[in-house]
């Protein structure tokens, strides 16, 4: 990897009479833009390789013949550049007039009006649209985008700059678009003019984001407001944990989000979005939003006033707490909601609620990460920054499908691949990264530790490890090594069902990477051995010294927009904000003093405990905020029966979720677009969430509702705004101590950030682990809780698709997404399908010991023979009806990735 010093070689040149210091390798255009000299350009996008096609960015360079395209010309020492001369203006005017001859000028009705590069430059150079005769209208439909609900294309507005084709190829690597024909007949289209949704298009809309005119546009935004009349509110995407910066383009007259864009160079997404960020916002304006408080009477909900609902909910929870103690009430906080709200929810649980029974959905997904990495490194979070991924030499991806579940991190990995990175993927399924990997280990679901132990064994045997790192930075190595003595690559090959040489090569490639970095997701954590799996990945990184430096570490990709933040905020039974331990009396005293109440000392439980305890009658009152355990927890029938056993259930929700249907009181809440706050993304970056539109009906921001609930429970709580909550939290949370809304206004800050002058932390564990020495753990392979047998011969795993998100109640409100994917399915191997007579698209029943669902079969070779894979996004055939409620020993995270199942046609 190039060192920072060598990358900073500078060149001094003169542009328009100004002396400019640029970096070697920069183009003249980049140097000019860096100081605000706006050279006109139409085919340029900083995300793309320059092609010099549009000829607008031409400049004069002293001593060089003719006009040169500044986007392809590299800076040189002493270069003298002119960017605006009479000659250049005349040339540009002609170029624009030629373009306008091929462009239908529809500015009065074009959505792009107000943000159109062609319009701006035509005005700047006073180009005449009729200089070469003028555009002759031609039929533009049907084309490849006709009927697509996400992306629309008007070839009459297309200036064939090629940006959409190139971004689809170079950045997304989807290659759904191409030019057809040549010369004046050139047109953007798909292969064989196929409809977009039948191609490799992933509906990310980057073609729209790069289009300099209105040729590619958001179908649903047509006529909803021109760019010049919309207000852009910068905020953070509400879907996955990548935390993309986005702009909600709001029409103030209609109080509606018209479209979503991302600013150029945004952090961490570099101006990119995925299908969910781009097209998944319709839920905000859905007719199904809850708009008034509801109280259930005689089994039916009736509308209620806020006062009534709060009085009833507050009184009942308080009564249950007073009568039955700290174990009788529990609070489920929300990884979907802001840090401020999570902070308040755990504060409410521990003050008005008098209990440590508080949790959020990390238990469902990444709790083993928090536990596993805290016990080995001392910090349970992604060790590196997203921005560092592009410089990784060997990507080691295990149990993670980044291009689907964390698409923008997928794009960063694609940047690394474009720079020549090697990639090892361990995944039972053929994902995009698996298909593009140098080595794909398609091991049996649930055999991860057998595989990792074999790699560790091989690395030690071949002396490929980093003895100096192990010696100086880690502890417990001898016991760890002794534990591996029974391992062998051959045995792992047998158990995992993969060739032994592949395991060896993967280990060698990882050990040799300069640097290597591990990425994992729920394929590692959602097992009964989840915490051990995570610890074993920590072992691998420590053994090879592949951690504690830029672009190298152990990187759990967090699933929900604010699951990192909700953990950071202490919405967990054993932790206060900043992972300060409840078990520590000094910590309890600190919070007792800050909050003015004695702190509870009960151990508390997690969501899977709450559900069991509701069934046992121990838990009586439950306050569920922005989560839907009926759909997200395993073994649905049991979850429903147990929740029905509660004496009182309060749900704070934006939709009538399956859990809310069981509630006694429902409090209507707000979406991310209707409130202020912060989210913390997977790379520990704390970013501002901003209000863009008014909430529907009587819905209130969640932090306000929590304050009102606390007050109704007898412990008054009030804040003037979300910023006040943040400041209180920061004052009590060392890792957030240096942050304020002012400091995180633009690109946020990565924790730890302990003081107001601290710049934040890109990567963790430099020089020393958070816990001091890194702790090797002795991990022994354990089989999954439920293995295939004669009755249930397949292994079923569940996961997320690109197009949908978790329980689907947000993503499925989008017409564009529904058009692409609206039904549950099961992927199965062709050999299995042939044997039981199932063809692609047939309806099949997938059954386990807990129930059955009927879904479409997707037959192919994505899964291993004997393995099934299902998404869990669809309410009508809920996959969690059949998943196994067997849990990780440490964190009680369910084994969603392995259970025994059978499939039958029909």
């Amino acid at each position: 990897m190039p060192t920072v010093a060598s990358a900073l070689k500078t060149v001094t040149l003169q542009i328009d009479g100004r002396e400019i210091v640029a970096q070697e390798g920069d183009t003249v255009l980049e140097a000019a833009l860096s100081v605000g000299i706006d050279i006109p350009r139409l085919c340029h996008d900083p995300r793309l390789k320059p092609v010099g096609a549009c000829r607008l960015c031409v400049v004069e360079i002293e001593g060089q013949h003719g006009l040169l395209t500044s986007c392809t010309m590299e800076v040189a020492e002493g270069m003298v550049v002119e960017t605006e001369t009479d000659q250049l203006a005349a040339k540009r005017k002609t170029v624009l007039e030629l373009i306008l001859d091929d462009h239908r000028v529809t500015c009065p009705t074009c959505d792009k009006n107000g943000d159109c590069a062609l319009m701006d430059y035509s005005y700047r150079y006073q180009a005449d649209q009729f200089a070469f005769g003028g555009f002759t209208p031609a039929p533009c439909e049907p084309n490849f985008a006709t009927g697509n609900k996400a992306i629309a294309f008007d070839p009459q507005l297309c200036i064939t700059c090629g940006r959409c084709v190139r971004i689809c190829d170079e950045v997304v690597m989807a290659s759904a678009l191409t030019f057809k024909q040549r010369a004046s007949s050139v047109e953007v289209t798909t292969p064989f003019d196929m409809p977009l949704n039948e191609t490799s298009c992933v509906l990310c809309g980057l073609c729209i984001s790069t289009c300099p005119t209105g040729a590619m546009y958001d179908r649903a935004a047509l006529g909803q407001g021109q760019m010049k009349d919309l207000e852009k509110i910068q905020t953070v995407c509400p879907y996955c944990g990548v935390g993309c910066t986005m702009e909600l383009n709001v029409n103030r007259e209609t109080n509606r989000i018209v479209r979503v864009t991302a600013p150029e160079g945004s952090v961490p997404n570099d101006g990119n979005l995925c299908v969910k960020g781009k097209f998944g916002f319709e839920y905000v304006h859905s007719d199904e939003r809850l708009t008034t408080p509801l109280i259930k009477e005689n089994g039916e909900f009736r509308e209620a006033t806020w006062d009534e609902a709060l009085e009833l909910a507050g009184r009942r929870l308080r009564e249950l707490r007073d009568q039955h103690g700290a174990a009788a009430v529990a609070f489920l906080s929300s990884s979907r909601c802001t840090n401020e709200e999570n902070y308040l929810m755990q504060k409410l649980a521990r003050t008005a609620g008098g209990t440590n029974n508080v949790d959020q959905c990390a238990t469902t997904c990444h709790a083993p990460t928090v536990a596993g990495l805290a016990s080995t490194f001392g910090s349970g979070a992604m060790t590196n920054a997203i921005d560092e991924i592009k410089d990784v030499d060997t990507l080691f991806i295990i149990g993670s499908n980044p291009t689907a579940a964390h698409p923008i991190i997928g794009l960063e990995m694609k940047k690394a691949l474009a720079k020549g990175a090697k990639m090892v993927v361990c995944d039972p399924r053929k994902t995009w990264v698996a298909e593009h990997a140098d080595i794909h280990i398609q091991h049996k679901p649930g055999t991860d530790n057998m595989l990792i132990n074999a790699m560790l064994h091989h690395i030690i045997e071949q002396e490929l490890h980093d003895p100096e790192f192990v010696e100086s930075r880690c502890e417990n190595f001898d016991a760890f090594r002794a534990n591996l003595e029974g391992s062998s690559v051959e045995q792992a090959a047998e158990v995992c069902g993969v060739p032994a040489d592949l395991i060896r090569s993967a280990a060698e490639l990882y050990a040799a990477g300069d640097p290597s970095s591990i990425f994992y997701t729920l394929g590692i954590t959602e097992h009964t051995s989840g915490t051990e799996n995570v610890q074993n990945l920590a072992n691998l990184a420590m053994l090879c010294g592949q951690i504690g430096k830029r672009s190298s570490g152990v990187n759990p990709l967090r699933g929900q927009n604010n699951v990192q933040g909700s953990c950071d905020m202490g919405a967990m039974p054993g932790d206060y904000p900043g992972y300060q331990k409840v078990a520590d009396e000094l910590v309890r005293t600190k919070f007792a003093e800050a909050w003015g109440l004695e702190m509870p000392t009960n151990k508390g439980g997690v969501v899977t405990d709450f559900i069991d305890q509701a069934g046992d009658g121990v838990l009586r009152g439950f306050y569920v905020f922005g989560e839907d355990p009926v759909l997200s927890e395993p073994n649905q029938a049991k979850v429903i029966a147990n929740l029905e056993n509660l004496e009182f259930l309060v749900c704070q929700e934006i939709f009538m979720s399956e859990t809310a249907k069981l509630a006694d009181v429902i409090l209507p809440a707000t979406s991310f677009a209707e409130k202020e706050g912060t989210f913390t993304n997977t790379e520990r970056r704390v970013q501002r969430v901003r209000k863009a539109v008014e909430p529907p009906g009587q819905a209130k921001p969640d932090w306000e509702i929590i304050c009102l609930m606390s007050t109704a429970m007898g412990h008054p709580m009030a804040y003037g705004d979300a910023g006040e909550i943040f400041d209180e939290m920061a004052s009590l949370t060392p890792s957030y101590g240096g942050m304020s809304y002012d400091r995180i206004d633009d690109v946020g800050l990565q924790w730890p950030c302990p003081t107001p002058d601290h710049p934040g932390t890109g990567f963790l564990h430099e020089g020393q682990f958070t816990r001091g020495l890194g702790a090797f753990k002795e991990i022994t392979f354990r089989e999954a809780a439920e293995l295939p047998d004669d009755d249930y011969p397949y292994i079923l795993s569940t996961g997320r698709t690109l197009y949908n998100y978790n329980i689907g109640n947000m993503s499925q409100k989008s017409g564009a997404i529904r058009q692409k994917q609206s039904k549950a399915f099961v992927e199965m191997h062709k050999s299995d399908a042939d044997r039981i007579g199932v063809a692609n698209d047939d309806l099949v029943t997938v059954a386990t010991r807990r129930g059955e669902v009927t879904v479409r079969a997707v037959v192919g070779d994505r899964t291993r023979p004997g393995a099934l894979w299902m998404p869990f996004h669809f309410v009508d055939q809920p996959t969690n009806r059949i998943t196994n409620d067997a849990f990780d020993d440490v964190t009680r995270t369910a084994e969603y990735k392995v259970c025994a199942a059978m499939v039958a046609k029909g």
Partner: protein, 139 residues
């Protein structure tokens, strides 16, 4: 099959066209799946180069050269004679799919002008009277 260098796309397309007489859509999609070359790239190439056909084509391709040398040696007269003999114009295919007719910018054998090619065979110094004989030579 391992990913194929995208630089091999054109020779692959030529082989497919030699086999099928044109580039059938299903075959290109199969080629894309097997080689990892995106279908979009194959389609872009296939429509960019005049030599490739995406529609079903004649069993034999007649190419009439319209380069400068052929032009001054009377290629238009040859073209008219062929058009009349086959009953089709450039870019068309005979009803019996025996011949497709094309014009090309130059076949690089100017010393033979005017030149006509049928498949891979060259016919030099063609005069209108030879056209019937040439066209009779292919089934």
């Amino acid at each position: 099959m391992a990913p194929v260098d995208h630089g091999h796309a054109i020779p692959l397309l030529q082989k497919i066209q030699d086999t099928y007489g044109y580039l059938p859509r299903e075959v290109l999609l199969e080629l894309s799946a097997e080689t990892g070359i995106p279908a979009a790239h194959l389609f872009g190439l296939a429509t960019f180069y005049a030599q490739f056909h995406l529609e079903e084509h004649g069993r034999h391709t007649v190419r009439v050269c319209r380069g400068t040398a052929c032009h001054v040696r009377g290629r238009q007269i040859i073209q008219d004679a062929i058009d009349e003999e086959l009953g089709i114009g450039p870019g068309e295919t005979t009803e019996d799919r025996r011949y497709s007719l094309e014009t090309v910018a130059c076949v690089g054998t100017c010393f033979l002008a005017p030149v006509v090619m049928v498949d891979h065979d060259y016919f030099g110094k063609v005069d209108p009277n030879k056209v019937g004989e040439i066209m009779g030579g292919y089934e």
